[in-house]
């Protein structure tokens, strides 16, 4: 079963074709990061405008790359939410239109389910059940994944997402948008012990997290330290030390919460996904910790950690394969959509 996946929930236009037998056949991704950089964040209307320019050409490029015709498609899946309403509507309109025209089943996919299942695209996919740590610019979630559609959110951030905290901290120190990656690179050159960053929510029971306090802590140090007469070299070192201290505090929190979650659930497999999972230090820390616990940790390839069409094509294909499909012809979107409201497709009859 060959399924076209369309992702337009935020600032990436992702298109892919997934075959339930042969795996991923083609994928195309267009990132709008440069478009939004000068605004310091995603501008929803500009994002929507770019999606409607890019989505259709990318669909055609995917078909060409996979040597397929439209008539070879057996289903269409699109990200219906959560995300920016205007941006979601572009993918949903195109997806519903293709499904209707081709007379093939359609399915509306939850964006986070796409991320949770993305590791299954890899060559060594984890078996259900597993614990998933989803860390991105929009989310910081600990989810127990029992089966397709059976998700329990164990922990969430109470304020900023981890990736968002990275970006905001970077912005504070004048790094260009989106600064999370630059901050992580800077952290490699810094001394994490120079400043005593707090470890928010660490001493409280439970699996929820909080990262906005770290950003405030950074602002206080940054404002205080940079007013002193510093050479260019000292200023760079100050930035690097703040970045290192900040990053270590975030990673400590994430690792600790993962450990607690694994203990609480008795699970052995940990899957780390989302944009922040590309962070090298986080990967190393989790690898070391899990080796110690005798568990396995999985990182999907970096390309599938950020928003992409492949994970939507996959999630859609898995649901269509077991018979789930949209029963009406609405251009379905859910800008706000709880992950836990999803069901195992079998249960939907």
């Amino acid at each position: 079963m060959k399924v076209l996946g369309i992702e337009t929930s935020c600032d990436e236009t992702g298109i892919a074709i997934y075959d339930t037998q042969a795996g991923l056949l083609a994928e195309q991704l267009y990132s709008q990061v440069d478009l939004h950089a000068c605004y310091g964040g995603v501008v929803p209307e500009l994002a929507s405008r770019d999606h409607v320019r890019k989505a259709m050409p990318l669909v055609q490029e995917c078909l060409q790359a996979a040597h397929l015709e439209f008539s070879d498609l057996d289903g269409v899946a699109w990200t219906a939410g959560p995300g920016l309403a205007g941006a979601l509507l572009v993918g949903a309109s195109l997806g519903q239109s293709l499904a209707w025209a081709l007379d093939v089943p359609a399915v509306a996919v939850h964006h986070m389910e796409g991320h949770l299942l993305a590791p299954l695209l890899g060559s060594d996919p984890p078996a259900f059940p597993f614990l998933s740590l989803l860390v991105s610019g929009g989310h910081t979630l600990l989810v127990e994944v029992k089966a397709l559609g059976d998700y329990t959110v164990l922990g969430d951030t109470l304020d900023d997402a981890a990736g968002e905290a990275f970006d905001k901290t970077a912005k504070l120190m004048g790094l260009p948008y989106p600064g999370g990656k630059a901050l992580a690179e800077l952290a490699e050159k810094g001394n994490p012990q120079r400043f005593d960053f707090p470890r928010p929510m660490m001493n409280r029971p439970g699996l929820d997290m909080s990262f906005s306090g770290l950003k405030t802590f950074t602002r206080v140090i940054w404002e205080k330290q940079r007013t002193q007469a510093l050479t260019a070299g000292e200023l760079e070192q100050l930035k690097a030390d703040i970045a290192a201290g900040f990053q270590e505090a975030v990673i400590d929190t994430l690792v600790k919460k993962c450990q607690r979650a694994l203990k609480q659930t008795g699970l052995k497999r940990l899957v780390v996904a989302g944009g922040v999972s590309a962070n090298r230090s986080l990967r190393e820390r989790l690898q070391t910790t899990w080796k110690h616990h005798g568990g396995q940790v999985y990182f999907p390839p970096v390309a599938w950690c950020t928003d992409n069409g492949a994970m939507i094509a996959l999630a859609g294909a898995l649901r269509l394969q077991v018979g789930q499909r949209k029963t009406d012809s609405a251009i379905e979107i859910h800008p706000r959509w709880s992950l836990e409201s999803l069901n195992r497709p079998e249960a939907e009859g």
Binding site: C38, Y39, G40, V43, E45, L46, S48, R49, V52, R53, A55, M56, P57, V59, Q60, F70, A85, G86, L89, V90, A92, S93, L94, G95, Q96, S97, L98, W100, A101, L102, D103, S329, A330, I331, I333
Partner: protein, 239 residues
Amino acid sequence: MNPTNKSLPPAPLLALDTATESCSVALTLPSGQCLSRDTDIPRQHSQVLFTLIDQLLEEAGIQKSELACLACGIGPGTFTGVRIAVAVAQGLAAALNLPIVPVSNLLAVAQDGYEQLAAQGIAPPPGFRLRAVIDARMHEIYSAVFHWDGSALQQTGKEQLLSAKQLLQKETQHPSDCLAGNALTVFDELSTLPSASMLPAARSHARTIAKLAAGQPRLVEPTSLQPAYLRQQVTHQKT
């Protein structure tokens, strides 16, 4: 598909319009007969569009595979509405291998205005000047001027985004014979203009778009179909 700029659009032609307050679809059959469906429920365009299309095909007794051409209102209008029509038309055209005729929603409003005059027994003479005015919100108006050339409306100048004040200035300098469109119901100051006819009920509809498309030889590929927003300033760059 081999769209050329010389051939006129073939039938059956399916027209979509979701750019303004009403969501409408129309189907022109080879016989020339035009069927249509619409709904005025706000913010429901995405929910009902395909239901309306299905109803239309069923009424006409044709399959989607028999469609020969698409037409689409590409704006200006609500940004989201325009994108729904364009993205849907792109998908239909690509999957069913159909050419698309893009039609301006300002032209559709002007055409409706012209037809309202004709229905009142007024036969506009050649040279008759009609200005279409669509409420663009944020105290602005999408507008374009058209002339009746004896057989069709021809656009004069560009489509523009204007404040009511700018529009009043333009009309004072160069009055139109008729103003048509929903901006007349929103901007009271336009009622002071000396235009002979004011048609606030003139609106865009897929039926009008289907009719206009039949007279327009411009066919495009699905990826070339893009919205005409007119309003480009949608954010302020941080300095």
